[in-house]
Symmetry: C2
Subunit: 240 residues, 2 copies
Amino acid sequence: MHNTKPRAVVLLSGGIDSTTTLALAQRDGFAVYALTFRYGQRHEQEIEAARRIARAFQVAGHEIVEFDLRRFGGSALTADIAVPKDRTPSEMGADIPVTYVPARNTIFLSFALAWAETLGAYDIFIGVNALDYSGYPDCRPEYIAAFQQLADLATRAGVEGRGRRRLQIHTPLIQFSKKDIIATGLSLGVNYGLTVSCYDPAPDGAACGRCDACLLRLKGFAEAGSEDPIRYQRIEKAAR
Amino acid sequence: MHNTKPRAVVLLSGGIDSTTTLALAQRDGFAVYALTFRYGQRHEQEIEAARRIARAFQVAGHEIVEFDLRRFGGSALTADIAVPKDRTPSEMGADIPVTYVPARNTIFLSFALAWAETLGAYDIFIGVNALDYSGYPDCRPEYIAAFQQLADLATRAGVEGRGRRRLQIHTPLIQFSKKDIIATGLSLGVNYGLTVSCYDPAPDGAACGRCDACLLRLKGFAEAGSEDPIRYQRIEKAAR
């Protein structure tokens, strides 16, 4: 069966959005080649999550590409900058957060493009969404459109492409709220207990419950009327 | 002095084109931050060349980013495919050669974008040229224009950019022949003895003299009326 399906490269970080995107790509009939990056994140837990998820979905292939964005610094996710906690939605939306990693999605999509070209895949899925992403520039629809245009020119297919399929960047979640994403995933049977979202988890894997990613996740589950299956640290309210 | 100059990220592979580009960026008054990649090339000699060149030009910074494109395969430069030899110019121009590395310049420019953003640099230099590059899709002017558009949207500057400078991708060699490039570099005092072009050098560093890169280089020096200062293997003509 697998070899008759069209191939798609799916960026898989191990979080809710990329896992839901993977489920949607499979539902749409693609043989999924999941692509994960170890880029100098503070913790390995999201890479472990990506491995678990790739196994659970029995993907056709899974690659983990390593490079070190800490050399460049500039982000709370890769440098020694504190992860902000307990921010309100309006604080999150006010500016580009320190957890923004410069040019990260551009780097990720570039590697996806390279792998798609060698796989003979014409479809790349990325789980960006413009609504809940608290202002990351490289999650906006106009950014994705610009990358699509680049992809048309960057590859062998872009030169020899007469009569061949055009490479397509799929962003099925781009207009989804976290609530919509979670509701969609649950309807497809996604086990969100496999996923990791927290920017600053405890060594035992428990999520902090207070960073932007945790707060958006918890709000999404609450609005979807479902309980988040992952573990959270017990926060002493008095200490905050 | 250095801290008053604007900063530029210059992609430095260790070959003639990127070295000439670096010389032009310095001439234009930029503090150069050279960026080199160890991506699974067959040989380390171009990385050693990049180190020598960065030292010779006393650049403000030099980073070597590592990742492994061999995972994806698909190129004679990173997989176990023979490097073509002794091709005529018309054979080289006929199609995209097997030495093409899928999406390589897109990946390189993405990292340059990340570093530029953390350095506060608004200028990226890449030594692509559309004439002598034997059909690589990601060396064409329309490709560079598409990346320029992406850069405007991908970064913090692209969101907060009101009143700030626009990020600029510089391709000073784009319409240069190899002869023009070499003549320009020689006029700026570039020592091309530091550079490496060969796709398939001997273990002692001698260039093969027969791959596309060697043939274009030798032709360029001949047309510029200068002698190539690097060492070549003695080819037994009878054995070919």
